[in-house]
């Protein structure tokens, strides 16, 4: 265990978030069993009041979760010189088996919390709260993931020992090694590029069709989720190279640093926004037939689709601009 102020902060926040999720899930259990909108009983009134508390809690969870994601990456980065061979966050995350799983869980939980807030927002717009049970079931499913993240993060920091020889991002993402990172790098750049541009094209085509005609919503949502994954692959595989102008530096974290004008924050914020709003539009598709939602839901979904397209356009715009304007070339463009 390394006692670093940021580690204390991260552990503290994960405790708070887990506690809040646990509390909300326990309440969710009660809602699923006892909710009856038709009743004017005191219990029902008390349940209704408590839904305000849960909405508030989840909004904070979402905000703190985003903060903790970035703080986590930044902390991993600032710890890198405690480990021989680790040159940035990519290497620090590799010092024990919990680094990357925690990172993935943090992203997943960010997206889930965002989706929950979207469902909650929609539900609160209908006078009979048609999604109330569904959204609390969703909360029950999310809760273990948040707790797992907290435990995984704890294990990551607890098992950390300074001076452990680890691979730096130079070797972690270099092609001769095996592991997650190198598999992505090992993927031919052309394939990664093709995947990225194809899913980009698919998302924008279906997105515009959905926005204009209201059709193909599910396909659009699927495409936006795929684009999120593909963007991650593309970032490691080739986009990062243009930012660093180095042919072997595949690290997806260094773009968060000052040397690159903190541009990474914008890139990742755009990606997360794109994923949450795109997937959000999709998970609302089954509820379009609910009478009390039929008026407001299509408008909300279209708005989400628009946000998604704008966010991805920002990501793609910055990346492509960088690729075109950089002196560096992979010999492909």
């Amino acid at each position: 265990m390394i006692l670093h102020p940021a580690i204390v902060a991260l552990v503290l926040v994960s405790f708070l978030i887990s506690g809040m999720m646990l509390y909300s899930a326990l309440f969710g259990f009660r809602v699923i069993r006892r909710w009856d909108i038709q009743s004017g009983s005191e219990e029902q009134l008390a349940l209704e009041r408590k839904t305000y508390l849960i909405s508030t809690i989840l909004s904070y969870v979402f905000v703190f979760q985003i903060g903790s994601l970035f703080l986590y990456v930044y902390t991993a980065d600032s710890l890198h010189n405690l480990f021989i061979g680790a040159m940035c966050a990519a290497g620090s995350l590799y010092v024990d088996p919990y680094g990357y799983p925690t990172f993935i869980l943090k992203i997943l939980n960010c997206i889930l919390a965002g989706l929950w807030l979207i469902v909650n927002y929609v539900d609160n717009r209908a006078y009979d709260y048609p999604l109330i049970r569904k959204k609390y079931v969703m909360l029950l499913i999310m809760m273990p993931l948040f707790i797992t993240e907290g435990i995984s993060q704890w294990l990551y920091f607890a098992q950390m020992r300074a001076d452990v020889i680890t691979s730096c991002c130079g070797s972690l993402f270099s092609s001769e090694r095996s592991g997650v990172g190198s598999e992505i790098v090992g993927l031919p750049v052309k394939a990664a590029m093709a995947g990225f541009y194809l899913s980009l094209a698919l998302t924008f085509t279906t997105g515009f069709i959905y926005w204009i005609k209201g059709k193909w919503g599910r396909l659009f949502s699927f495409a936006s989720g795929l684009l999120f994954l593909m963007s991650g692959v593309a970032l490691v595989s080739f986009i990062s190279l243009y930012f660093y102008e180095l042919p072997t530096h595949h690290c997806p974290f260094c773009v968060l640093q000052r040397e690159y004008g903190y541009i990474g924050y914008l890139l990742y914020a755009a990606l997360l926004t794109g994923a949450v709003s795109g997937l959000g539009a999709g998970i609302l598709m089954p509820f379009r037939k609910v009478p009390s939602l039929s008026g407001s839901l299509p408008i909300i979904q279209k708005r989400l689709a628009m946000i998604c397209l704008i966010a991805y356009a920002i990501f793609a715009g910055i990346s492509i601009y960088r690729m075109v304007s950089a002196d560096f070339t992979l010999g492909l463009l």
Binding site: I37, Q38, G40, S41, E42, L45, E48, R49, N124, R125, A126, Y127, D128, Y129, S292, G295, S296
Partner: protein, 242 residues
Amino acid sequence: MIRLSNVRKGFNLGRPNEFIAVGGVDLTLEGNRITVLKGPSGSGKTTLLSLIGCMARPTSGRISLLRSLLGHNGFLKDGDMPEVEVTSLPERFLTEIRRRTFGFIFQQFNLIKGITVLENILLPTYPLGKKHRVVRKRAEELLDMFALGDRTAARVEWLSGGEAQRVAIARALMNDPPIIIADEPTAHLDSKLSGEFMDIIARLKGQGKTIIIASHDPLVFAAPFVDRVIAVRDGMIGGEGA
């Protein structure tokens, strides 16, 4: 028109301190009338008023409002039934209806101390998110109408009883609600001010408002322009008069 059928409201149900404030009321209130709920304190008339005014949900029974009485509400689609049943609406939507449909005048005026007259009467407009310029203009018109134009920037604790009461009325009218609800409005006023209050009420009726007052003050329920007096006792409707 407001229709109540078999409306009950209880507190602490199933516990030793169980208390039924309103027990099975059937009532229909007509639009553009002045109705007075008359009864001693503790008779349940205030609870009844809060149920009618969408401040609380009944434990059982139904309350329906005529759609034309409701202001514009985004969540209610046009072309539905002419009446809206508010009983099972969650608080969020009840509030939405309440702030566009009802204006409240309370026994103790309930103005917020430490802020100005203008700020006080602007408060009901905040959740609606209307343009500040627009609501401010309306507030100033209302204040002029109630001869409070020169008290705009005064703090409410500096006001006389009559002025405080007129500010409370102005606040109730801020969102231009079709129905005005007043709970014991004259309890803290002398006869002269009570008379002035009833004159204002008569004027509002002339403007097409529906007015529901809970009071046991003869100056109120015996006023000549009151259309209907309903006696309330032990949470039940008793006799009626006019």
